[in-house]
């Protein structure tokens, strides 16, 4: 037997006094960690298969289980960490590229946590959202820069197409394929109830979900999966995906194993073949080419829908966004490098791109400096984790935010970061029918609605505390923010003062 160079990452701890050998853990685990040994009349576990998804812990009726990190430790080095050593063993064993999921777990600065929000005292009264009206409705799209008159002197009230959101929170792109049908249904129904939007990602739109079209953003990416006239007509807006925060500069590969019948039908590709989204759009090499795709989509949808261009936050994001704002796009979505993914090469996820906070501030400032901020709305994405992150994003210049990881948490995800394996025990990132049915769309949709309602109320409370009664008045209001423990350079880029100033 070949030597296994590294031990199991997690240890399954079973309390023998509590375990009643009901074998629920065994039935729940798609990784086949738990098994019953008849000779010993005992539940045993294969720790090396455990991904720490916590499904068995949550479903054990007697609370007999704990999953904890394996305490076995390689000799400590701050330079060659145990994780890095294991990764090298994996690659030496296979010759393959490391593949991970979800946002980077690495310890990069989180600027949200180094920004503090203002509140009113004495002079400018705060507002109680339980008593007074607070506006969290926002409109995404081009904003007219002045009043236009018709030849007869009346005011021209024609508007370019826009999205109307009851809350400045949308669900960002996750394709049907990367996540399950029940997960998609939960998102679609929640978006409809909340008066916001979910996003198909690049996987087409399942025929059962066309009815949620008015609350759907349909995505067009380099692989063009599931894109055709009816799909473009179904959505409320069309998003061109140029990049993703977790994997800037590369495309996506949905492995053939995940292309089962329904996914195959929705993507319009044969079962079992890899779904490959190339790194670039092969027809886009310039802002002019992007403009061409935007206008071909506008022509196809008869100028009735706003077009969003989604890019990853990269070093020169401000200049790129300026180009996009001039290309005819109505909305720019910027995805920071801490954002999630259903699968990305580890090295890319952990090392490429920049944080959304810096990218957002730089883009907003650049568009203001150039006098074109009203040409586009900005949607910030890539690890917006809470209502306070939303408030900070809006004050830094966002019109709205995209959230995805919090929606997965609402549906039961425990961030085990194994989506790419396709064996999600929570029924989210899988196409296995026995696992998919574990997620009840009634429950999923309700929990998503609860989450966004709670955030929306928190946003109102934080705004009220500042004496601000609408998202419109908070947008780009950087005076409401102060940095804590940041360098002058970081403060300059964020466009905020240090706490105490």
């Amino acid at each position: 037997m070949p030597v296994n160079f590294f031990p199991a990452e997690f240890e399954v701890v079973r309390n023998a006094d509590k375990c009643i050998k009901c074998r629920a853990c065994e039935r729940q685990c798609s990784n086949e960690v738990h098994y019953y040994d008849a000779d010993y009349d005992k539940m045993l576990s294969k720790d090396s298969s455990c991904v720490d998804c916590q499904r068995c812990v949550c479903l054990c009726p007697t609370g007999a289980l704990k999953i904890r990190p394996n305490e076995n430790a390689f000799r400590k080095s701050a330079n060659y960490t145990q994780q890095l050593m294991i990764e090298n063993y994996r690659q030496a064993g296979t010759g393959a590229v490391l593949l991970s999921s979800m946002g980077t777990p690495k310890d990069y600065p989180i600027y949200w946590d180094k920004i503090l929000i203002n509140a009113s005292q004495v002079t400018n009264p705060s507002i109680d959202p339980l008593r007074e009206p607070m506006e969290t409705k926002v409109f995404l799209g081009k904003k007219p820069s002045g009043i236009k008159k018709n030849p007869d002197g009346s005011i021209n009230t024609e508007m370019t197409p826009y999205l109307e959101l009851n809350t400045p929170i949308m669900f960002s792109a996750m394709s049907y394929g990367s996540i399950s049908k029940n997960a998609h249904e939960s998102l679609a129904r929640a978006a409809t109830e909340l008066g916001t939007y979910y996003n198909t990602g690049e996987g087409g739109l399942h025929k059962d979900f066309y009815k949620y079209g008015p609350n759907t953003i349909v995505q067009v990416a380099s692989g063009r999966f599931g894109v055709f006239k009816d799909y473009l007509d179904a959505g409320a807006a069309i998003e061109i995906k140029m990049g993703q925060g977790a994997k800037p500069g590369i495309g996506g590969h949905l492995p053939g194993a995940k292309i089962r019948e329904d996914v195959s039908k929705t993507r319009m590709i044969p079962m079992g073949t890899d779904a490959i989204s190339p790194a670039p759009h092969h027809d886009i090499y310039s802002i002019e080419d992007l403009r061409q795709l935007i206008f071909s989509l506008k022509e196809a949808s008869e100028y009735k829908k706003p077009v969003i261009v989604k890019i990853a936050a990269v070093h020169n994001v401000a200049a790129i966004a300026s180009g996009i704002a001039r290309s005819g796009a109505d909305i720019i979505a910027i995805d920071g490098f801490r954002g999630g993914t259903g699968a990305a090469p580890t090295r890319i996820r952990d090392n490429v791109g920049i944080p959304i906070e810096l990218a957002l501030a730089a883009v907003d400032q650049r568009l203001r400096d150039e006098g074109i901020r009203n040409e586009v709305s900005i949607v910030a994405a890539g690890s917006v984790r809470s209502a306070s992150d939303c408030v900070k994003a809006i004050a830094l210049g966002a019109d709205a935010v995209y959230i995805a990881t919090p929606t997965l948490l609402a549906m039961g995800c425990h961030l085990c970061r194994s989506c790419h394996a396709g064996k999600c025990n929570w029924g989210i990132a899988t196409q296995r029918p026995d696992l998919v049915k574990r997620l009840n769309p009634d429950v999923g949709a309700q929990r998503l609605v609860n989450l966004v309602h709670a955030w929306d109320h928190e946003i109102k409370e934080i705004m009220g505390g500042m004496g601000i009664n609408s998202v419109e008045s908070l947008r780009g209001n950087r005076l409401m923010l102060r940095g804590i423990g940041l360098s002058q350079k970081e403060l300059d880029i964020l466009g905020i003062l240090h706490a105490g100033e």
């Binding site: 990764e87 994996r90 690659q91 064993g93 296979t94 393959a96 590229v97 490391l98 593949l99 991970s100 067009v220 380099s222 692989g223 063009r224 999966f225 894109v227 055709f228 006239k229 473009l232 590969h253 492995p255 053939g256 195959s264 039908k265 319009m268 590709i269 044969p270 079992g272 073949t273 890899d274 490959i276 190339p278 092969h282 027809d283 061409q292 795709l293 206008f295 071909s296 989509l297 022509e299 196809a300 949808s301 008869e302 100028y303 090469p345 580890t346 194994s418 790419h420 394996a421």
Partner: protein
């Protein structure tokens, strides 16, 4: 009945609105001077273009026929879903990008990146048919459908450029030539087309000769190469779970 529109220096928005809103099923566009997005997403019409249409002709085309008496430019039939585009001339870069079904038939030659990421599903099998030669990167990431290059008038050279079929993982390419394409990627296998292969493209070649003249039997009598991918899962061995 047919409607006639003189395009001239009309803006593409206006021209396309007229085409979309026309009650006639046949629309003749005269004096076309590079207007983009003609027929974008349009279904149930026959658009006849005299002149040069601009980029993204027939993008997302949804069951219309387009005939061009002239050359076409870039991104013809981008993500087209159904219908036929017949070009009585040459075509620019990237025709048939992400095409799902329907036919693009080009009398002359085409530029770079033809048929990129074409797909197929069940009975939806798109076709890009090129009479002359094509540039580099033909059929990159091809996931399905047929690409046929007849190389008419280019019998002394290989009528396809370099890096043909890079990333290809479905569908097939047929090339009428005696000369093996250069710098083929490792995941492509190349075969001499046999009689059954030629039968598979007989209807395509006949569509060409019906549209532009020539003798289908004569063309099919020549040597063809057939290129197919070795695997539908080219990246299976590329990754290790981390």
């Amino acid at each position: 009945m047919s409607a006639k529109i003189t395009a001239g220096d009309m803006h593409f928005k206006e021209l396309n609105r007229l085409i979309r809103e026309s009650a006639e099923s046949e629309i003749i566009v005269d004096d076309c001077l590079g207007q983009r997005y003609i027929g974008s997403g349009v279904s149930g019409k026959h658009i006849i273009i005299n002149g040069i249409p601009g980029n993204a002709l027939g993008a997302y085309l949804d069951g219309s026929d387009i005939t061009v008496y002239g050359n076409a430019q870039d991104a013809t039939g981008d993500t087209m879903n159904k219908g036929t585009i017949v070009i009585h001339g040459n075509c620019g870069d990237a025709p048939g990008y992400g095409m799902r079904d329907g036919k693009i038939v080009i009398k002359g030659s085409a530029g770079y990146r033809c048929g990129i990421h074409m797909k197929q599903y069940m009975d939806k099998i798109p076709l890009v048919l090129i009479g002359g030669k094509v540039g580099d990167f033909l059929a990159e990431y091809q996931a399905g459908g047929r690409i046929v290059v007849l190389g008419i008038g280019f019998e002394d050279i290989c009528p396809v450029g370099s890096f043909c079929g890079t990333g290809m993982h479905g569908g097939a390419i047929y090339i009428r030539t005696e000369h093996m394409p250069k710098s083929l990627p490792a995941q492509i296998s190349i075969h001499d087309a046999d009689d059954s292969d030629k039968e598979a493209i007989r209807a395509d070649v006949e569509l060409y000769t019906q549209s532009f003249g020539g003798n289908a039997d004569e063309l099919l009598g020549s040597h063809f190469y057939k290129l197919i991918p070795n695997s539908a899962n080219p990246y299976k061995q590329l990754y290790v779970n981390n």
